[in-house]
Amino acid sequence: MTISVHRLLAVPDWRESVQVLAGDVDRLVRLARPMAHDRSIEPGELVVVVQPIPATDWRVDALLRRIADAGGAGLLLPEGGLLETTRLLAERLNVPLLTSTAPPLDLLISARMLLAAPVLDRADLVLAVHDALGSRVRPPEEVVTTLRDLLDAPVALLDDSGALITGELPHATEVRVHEPVPQRTRLGEGILLAHPVLLLDTTRPALWLATELADRSAARADVVPPALSVAAAAVQRWLLTNRIELERDARSRAALLADLLRLDDEPTADLRRRAADAGWSLGGWHIGIRIGTQSAVDTVARSREVERVLRAEGVGAVVVEHGDGWTGWATSEQEPTADRVRSLAAQLRAATRELRRTLDVHVGVGRPHPQAEGLATTIAEATDAARMARTRPESGRFLHVDQLGMAQLLLEWTRTDTFEPAARTLIAPLRGQPGDLVRTLAAYLDAESSIAETAAVLGVHRNTVAARIERIERLLAVDLGHRDERLALHLACRAVTLAEGGDPS
């Protein structure tokens, strides 16, 4: 095994005490031995003078020459008293000449350890980091300071945009936050090392742990990444622990919300109590907000971001992870004025735009409704609006119920991907039959089941209409006198004619 003199200089007890007076520090060291008077020097040998001989002794020069002739790797002497001649000679012979303030024997031992088992240095550091961070969950600030002390180098924790969270790092901006792999970047003489902190179910790092090794320490860059990885795991543990708390919290909030939405009576005292504990006020006027997104999105993890964006736009609202997205509402003491509602809608529209930078969301907003039962109503409206917003890119995936008549709302609802195929299936038996049965059915239902008016609308004889209705009822096996079936068929006709571009009237 060979290592460079440069690498040796990064060994902790060498780094502090050894000075390079001359020679090429990239020279490879194969072995390190104490000087002995009458033995030959081997290629790649670093000769360590452990016995006290005067630094001015001519034998130091002779030794340098022997090292040069044998292809040795350098000479390490105790510091002090060395002649300029000796330094000039080392320079001339290009033999690394090192002096040390520490006992050379100690340095010899650490050099031999590194030569014998280069991984030991790494293992030592990993164990030290593990010992310091291992047993319990520690906040990231503590992880950063512990690691900084162990590495004797600046350490920082960055978020996924590269912004500093804690610690300090002169070249934090050099971390490439879009490449979720451990990184190593040259910085002139130094090296920047960064390790992503990943959560289990994402490839995008939540955080980055980074350190910078300056000058001499840079040669030790191969030792540090595993230690960084252990520390990153400690940060990850902290995140996961935090996450469990968030999840627990999110679950109880979602359950409370579900109970509130199911409410069709005055809320029970217990429910009121739970709402109060959650900091939700059930009294006053509520405006429901629904933020829908894809099922792949980790809603618990992104809740904070959603809350942050809403707050940034001036929307004070409760937000709860709910299904594939978030459900929320803004509450006010008094019935909100039209202006207030408009400005809230404008704020939410801006928030939607902001959220859509990183998240595929569609947002719906309900009308103001009072009290606990009003909450369910406005949320239901918001949910319908959000569902529509999803299919309407032209609205910026944002819809406010106030902007829609209820009829339009209903029609919009029939346009959904789920309803339309169902509608087609429902009236499929009428297709391909003689007589314009679909149009007849639509007109009949529009005319409130009046055969005379239907005949007038269609411009046919009323007997014809009656016969067609009879056929329709037979083909579809329905009773048009039954209100539910009538409603279903009415919607289906609308959906199909709308989809086909026909005029429903």
């Binding site: 001519w58 034998r59 020459r65 002649l83």
Partner: protein, 355 residues
């Protein structure tokens, strides 16, 4: 061999080269010699072979802090006192003088003293170069022993060390110097001329003179080629460091130091380890030269050898390696001046080609 006024610069250059960065500053001794010659006194070098076999030759020279020698000038009485003491102790008359160390000021001093005392000076010495310690003199290296030894310091004290090993003599002499004026005249027991070839290094004074002549007339490369030496480097001194030497027996030894030259052509780093002399050279961490070869650092502009204690950062220098005297490369004596004798744990790195 007559030494005339015109020969003095060559002699001075030669002995300071052989000092290998040590041996003391020659300026004062040279001035004394010049004034004697200018006053009409005659000075000569006598080859060993011209002496009769039983002639007694007294080794003489100055030891200690030679920088003090320049400040506290000799009166001449110290030499006379030292000679008188050794003659009295051994009961032998001195017939001639020989330098204890050709490298540095002791390459010149005996010529001055010989004239004053009326004794011939033999063309030989006990070092062949600059050496820092008494136990490294050739008589000690040859196993003859140093004692009896006389030390006479300018304050008037005269010390006779009758018995003791060479190392003890060295240690006692240093203690005496520390307690007196910083330098002293050293005289050893007279040596019969017939024994000189075995325990001294003949011909070194004449050799220093001719080395000096070559040095004055040629550049460093040519000098190296002519003397069997070589140029180790040519460049600027980038660092000089001095530090207390390793102590022995609870006393600090000579100060140690190193000087590094970056070669202009190859950009290689030449590091010189020094004590009192330049002892050892490494190029880019590899040993390339050592004592007992002579290592001389010359001012690049003037060619004047730069002593160890004055070399400083920023000067342009040429570094020369000159071959050691054959006396020292003999395996029986090599360890006396080898790097390990100075506490440098390295085998000698010597020039292959000998004169």
């Amino acid at each position: 061999m007559q030494i005339g006024l015109a020969d003095v610069p060559a002699l001075e250059r030669g002995v300071s080269l052989l000092g290998s960065g040590g041996g003391g500053d020659t300026v004062t001794a040279t001035a004394l010699l010049l004034s004697r010659l200018a006053a009409g006194h005659r000075t000569a070098l006598t080859p060993v072979g011209e002496l009769s076999g039983d002639a007694r030759v007294v080794p003489i020279g100055v030891i200690g802090a030679t920088a003090v020698f320049a400040e506290k000038l000799p009166s001449g009485a110290e030499f006379r006192a030292a000679l008188a003491a050794i003659e009295r102790w051994t009961g032998h008359r001195a017939d001639a003088l020989v330098s204890i160390e050709v490298g540095g000021l002791n390459g010149v001093v005996p010529l001055v003293v010989g004239g004053q005392l009326g004794l011939p000076v033999v063309d030989a010495d006990l070092s062949g170069r600059g050496v820092p310690r008494l136990d490294q003199l050739s008589v000690a290296a040859a196993g003859k022993g140093l004692t009896p030894v006389v030390l006479a310091e300018p304050g008037g004290q005269v010390l006779v060390l009758a018995e003791g090993t060479s190392i003890e003599v060295e240690r006692t002499a240093r203690a005496f110097l520390a307690g007196s004026g910083g330098w002293a005249v050293l005289a050893l027991a007279p040596i019969p001329a017939s024994e000189l070839p075995k325990c001294a290094i003949p011909g070194t004074m004449g050799a220093a003179l001719s080395l000096g002549r070559q040095a004055l007339s040629a550049d460093a490369e040519e000098l190296a080629a002519a003397t069997g030496g070589r140029v180790l480097g040519l460049g600027r001194v980038v660092e000089v460091s001095r530090r207390p030497g390793p102590g022995e027996h609870g006393r600090t030894g000579f100060a140690r130091g190193s000087a590094t030259v970056r070669d202009h052509r190859s950009q290689s780093l030449l590091r010189l380890e020094m004590e009192n002399e330049y002892l050892f050279a490494m190029r880019d961490g590899e040993p390339v030269a050592s004592t007992p070869d002579v290592l001389a650092v010359l001012d690049h502009r003037t060619g004047v050898p730069i002593l160890c204690d004055v070399i400083r950062r920023g000067v342009e220098v040429t570094v020369l390696q000159l071959p050691a005297a054959g006396f020292w490369t003999d395996p029986r004596r090599l360890q006396v001046l080898a790097p390990r004798a100075y506490g440098i744990d390295c085998d000698p790195v010597l020039l292959e080609v000998r004169r």
